[in-house]
């Protein structure tokens, strides 16, 4: 179990800066996720930790011990690959025991440890099966057992669930999280799926074009996104910008077009014009202005489009000045949402988040 320190690491491929001056402190036993769109450098960063990609600059240490100078086979990381990378010429047991044989563990020990590892991933008794006899989910479990059985200092997972179907993906991410908690191992997880990242991580680093946009706990990354990029990447949102017009107690009033928004903040806004976001589900449909809860602010909008998604209904609405406002309502009868209807929307000014320009 090990803390991982990434210090000012850079790497470019030709003219492309894949990773640019990234520093991260990953705590011992933490489940840490690198999240971002494809090409943001998250996989490159993971491969640098594993040793499959050279660093142009910077250092990587495990528990204060510098490891970026070690060849990949001497780093003692356990990696789970996107396509599982199960050796087709070995049985399940042969695959799981592969790393132990490389470490000259005695055959009796190997048998015992392989059995334990397979039990951990609910594949007891599968050790004599061949990979081609297994399903995608089972191969995934073999890959995880193979990475864990060597008792690595750090578990590295490179989009391990992207080849599974939706339902299995949800099931497996729960299992991976539980395993990591049970073993208390440090895990670094790469994904482009924000929901996956939110559900599984202790902390998330959102990456963009080789740099870190925000590093924080899942709810903080979602609710208090630092930049417009993070706000949009973490889920549907309303990105707005308004002029600071006045302060009302703990609120700052921002004028966007002809609409006033209230933002809860104790600090003075940094600039005259402020970019901010307001999540669709933070807006609640109320009967009229009198029904707005105490301390909340309200808006009047007109329904443009309704998208029914089952549990959730997404509604696109328009303010009087033409600005689009998206809302999301849970378990709401769709027939009350006729196009053209005027809605009164209430929101807590605490849910309005100021964004850094990025």
């Amino acid at each position: 179990m090990t803390a991982v320190t990434i210090d000012r690491v850079s790497r470019s491929f030709g003219s492309v800066q894949a990773v640019h001056d990234v520093s991260l402190d990953i705590r011992d036993g933490e489940f840490f996720t690198l999240l971002g769109p494809s090409g943001c450098g998250k996989t490159t960063l993971l491969r640098m930790i594993a040793g499959f990609c050279e660093l142009d600059a910077g250092t990587i240490s495990f528990g204060g011990r510098r490891i970026d100078t070690l060849p990949p086979h001497r780093r003692n990381t356990g990696m789970v690959f996107q396509n599982y990378a199960i050796f087709p010429n070995f049985t399940v047991g042969g695959n799981v025991g592969y790393g132990l044989r490389a470490r000259n563990v005695s055959p009796a020990q190997i048998t015992a440890r392989v059995a334990t590892a397979l039990k951990l991933v609910h594949l007891d008794g599968y050790d004599t099966r061949w990979p081609h006899q297994l399903s995608g989910g089972q191969l995934q479990r073999v890959a995880i057992a193979r990475a864990l059985v060597i008792e690595p200092e750090v578990l590295l997972l490179d989009e391990p669930l992207s080849n599974l179907d939706a339902q299995l993906r949800v099931e497996m991410r729960g299992e991976i999280r539980q395993l990591q908690q049970t073993l208390g191992i440090t895990a670094i997880y790469v994904t482009h799926d924000q929901e996956e990242a939110l559900s599984i991580s202790d902390r998330i680093a959102v990456m963009r074009a080789g740099t870190l946009e925000q590093v924080d706990k899942p709810d903080a990354v979602y609710r208090y996104s630092a930049t417009p990029f993070v706000a949009e990447f973490m889920g549907t949102t309303n990105l707005l910008s308004g002029k600071v017009s006045r302060r009302e107690g703990s609120h700052v009033v921002l004028t966007a077009g002809k609409t006033e928004f209230h933002m809860h903040t104790n600090a003075a806004p940094m600039t005259d014009t402020v970019g901010f976001c307001l999540r669709p589900e933070a807006l609640r449909i109320v009967a009229d202005r009198s029904a707005v809860p105490d301390g909340w602010a309200s808006l009047e909008t007109q329904i443009l489009r309704v998208e029914f998604l089952g549990a959730l209904t997404r509604v696109e609405t328009r303010l009087a000045d033409g600005e689009m406002i998206r809302i999301a309502v849970l378990d709401h009868p769709v027939d009350t949402l006729a196009i053209g209807t005027t809605l009164t929307l209430a929101y807590d000014p605490r849910r309005v988040t100021e964004l850094k320009t990025s």
Binding site: H73, A85, Y98, G99, A147
Partner: protein, 551 residues
């Protein structure tokens, strides 16, 4: 995706060993040939005199022109015959398609000079067919010179165009053609505006191999050219000439030959390298629903080409079991030709089997790691290694042989006169086979397998030996068999390098051609056919599985 792995000695070791071997036994000999062409008779002064002499000689000038003319003609003819053939095989309902494709691979492994020799036996001046027709009063045109050589090239080299074109047509995704038709193009228009342009690179890649093969081939022109000078043959004659051995002039022809093939390869890399259309086939287009008439025509065409190419070999086998009295053939079954062959000596057969086996192992031991390193550890250095290791296919065997003799006839390392120099020449010449085979298999194995192994604590060198070699084994064995077969029928370098007791079957045949022993030559040819077809037949399934593109 392949990313350079830091602090890894394995690719460096392989690259160093490979460059040492190729530098010593490929680059250096070529350099010596090059050097010889610029030295005067005393061997000390630089001069352009040799070039002037060759260029001013009508004879040698015409050898260059003849070689190039025959190469162009053969390439054009082969392409014109093979491209429609490939289309029929890939897209038309042809009777017995599996058998057809299996037979169509054979000319690649059968020695082409045997085909030339069969043509001579059948249609030569004293040929069986010629005599028969002449006795009936039917005049027969001469097959000596350009027509015969081009014919043999077409019949033996057409798979070089056929196989990549079929592969190209099958790699085309059906949706591309459907999109064209959906946008309003007729079937005919779709073919000319979409399908054909997409397979052009495959056709041209094959045509290039044909052209190079025709330039460097020694046996076919040696059998059929008669008085017509051909570069690869004249270089050999100049070098070994008993009365007027002239390594300088041989060097000049060698340099011209190597430059011609190198030029073609460079042009190909320039213009073809970028024109690669990967459509990422999920589903190949369906067979065309043609009428019975078209089907019959296509079937007849395909089988006619494939069977015609095999007739010469079949004829040689039949003839080898007939009785020769002097130069005259008698239509009786006899094993006398074989008895005669083995009475003389078993050594040539043993030599062929031994040398081919050594060379197959040598080429695999050297070529597989080269292919691995060049595919998986892409750096500028391994890129150069990949190019250098595939270059020998563009160098005529005769010229490499001459270079090896000039280089290792004296000095600190003397190799001439033994078996080792033959094995070295074979390994160099067939290295592209195993390098290409190795990288072809690797393209079917996900790189993350090796990364997983390394990640679990096994060093890259051990990963290669313990994990990758077993995974690649089928392909490696296939590549070795192809190397073995190619070496068993190798003539051009052997004829320069062999000495005394190290005669091979091809040399025996070569000598029999010069003399009058037609029965002996036919028996040797039959043995060669046996030893090339048998191993390929044994591993045919393996080769199909790895879709081995024969180089």
């Amino acid at each position: 995706m392949s990313v350079a792995v830091p602090r890894n000695a394995f690719p460096l070791v392989v690259t160093a060993v490979a460059f040492t071997f190729l530098g010593l036994f490929f680059i250096y000999p070529l350099y010596r040939v090059f050097g010889a062409s610029f030295l005067d008779a005393s061997g000390t002064n630089l001069t352009l005199h040799n070039y002037a002499k060759v260029v001013s000689s009508t004879f040698y000038r015409s050898s260059v022109i003849n070689s190039l003319t025959i190469g162009v003609l053969a390439t054009l003819a082969t392409t014109l015959i093979s491209a429609p053939l490939a289309f029929c095989v890939a897209r038309m309902p042809i009777g017995g398609k599996t058998a057809l494709l299996s037979l169509a691979v054979l000319p690649l492994v059968l020695p082409s000079f045997v085909s030339a020799y069969a043509l001579l036996l059948l249609f030569g001046r004293a040929g069986i067919v010629t005599s028969a027709l002449e006795s009936l009063g039917v005049p027969v045109g001469s097959i000596y010179g350009t027509p015969g050589i081009v014919l043999v090239y077409v019949l033996t080299l057409y798979p070089y165009v056929l196989l990549p074109t079929v592969a190209g047509l099958k790699a085309l995704d059906v949706s591309v053609e459907e999109a064209s038709q959906n946008l309003g193009a007729s079937r005919w228009r779709t073919f000319w505006s979409v399908t054909f342009p997409i397979v052009i690179p495959s056709i041209l890649a094959g045509a290039l191999l044909v052209f190079i093969e025709t330039l460097e081939n020694f046996g076919v022109p040696f059998v059929l050219a008669e008085d017509k000078p051909i570069m690869a043959v004249e270089a050999f004659k100049l070098f070994v000439g008993e009365t007027d051995a002239n390594p300088a002039s041989a060097g000049v022809l060698g340099v011209l030959l190597v430059c011609s093939t190198a030029l073609v390869v460079i042009i190909q890399r320039r213009f073809l390298g970028r024109r690669r259309f990967a459509t990422g086939a999920r589903r190949s287009p369906p067979l065309i629903e043609a009428g019975a008439g078209w089907r019959a025509i296509a079937t007849a065409y395909c089988w006619a080409v494939v069977l015609t190419s095999l007739v010469p070999f079949f004829a040689v086998i039949v003839i080898s079991f007939m009785e020769y009295r002097g130069p005259v053939l008698h239509p009786h079954f006899s094993l006398e030709n074989f008895a005669e062959l083995f009475r003389r000596s078993m050594r040539p057969l043993e030599n062929t089997l031994l040398l081919a086996t050594l060379a197959a192992f040598g080429a695999a031991i050297l070529g597989v790691p080269i292919g691995y390193v060049a595919t998986r550890f892409r750096t500028r250095l391994t890129g150069i290694l990949d190019i250098v290791a595939t270059m020998p296919f563009a160098v005529a065997g005769t010229i490499l042989g001459i270079g090896l003799i000039i280089s290792f006839n004296s000095g600190w390392l003397v190799l001439t006169g033994g078996w080792l120099i033959l094995v070295i020449a074979y390994v160099v010449r067939k290295l592209p086979f195993t390098v290409r085979a190795s990288s072809a298999i690797l393209h079917q194995i996900d790189p993350s397998l090796e990364e997983a192994s390394v990640n679990l604590g096994v060093s890259p060198m051990k990963t290669f030996a313990q994990l990758m070699v077993p995974l690649m084994l089928g392909g490696i064995v296939g590549g070795m068999v192809l190397t073995w077969v190619a070496v068993a029928s190798e003539l051009s370098a052997t004829v320069v390098l062999y000495s005394g007791q190290w005669q091979t079957l091809t040399v025996v045949m070569f000598q029999a051609l010069e003399g009058t022993g037609a029965g002996l030559a036919a028996a040797t040819a039959s043995l060669l056919i046996f030893f090339t077809v048998l191993p390929v037949a044994l591993v045919y399934r393996l080769l199909r599985r790895y879709e081995m593109s024969l180089l």
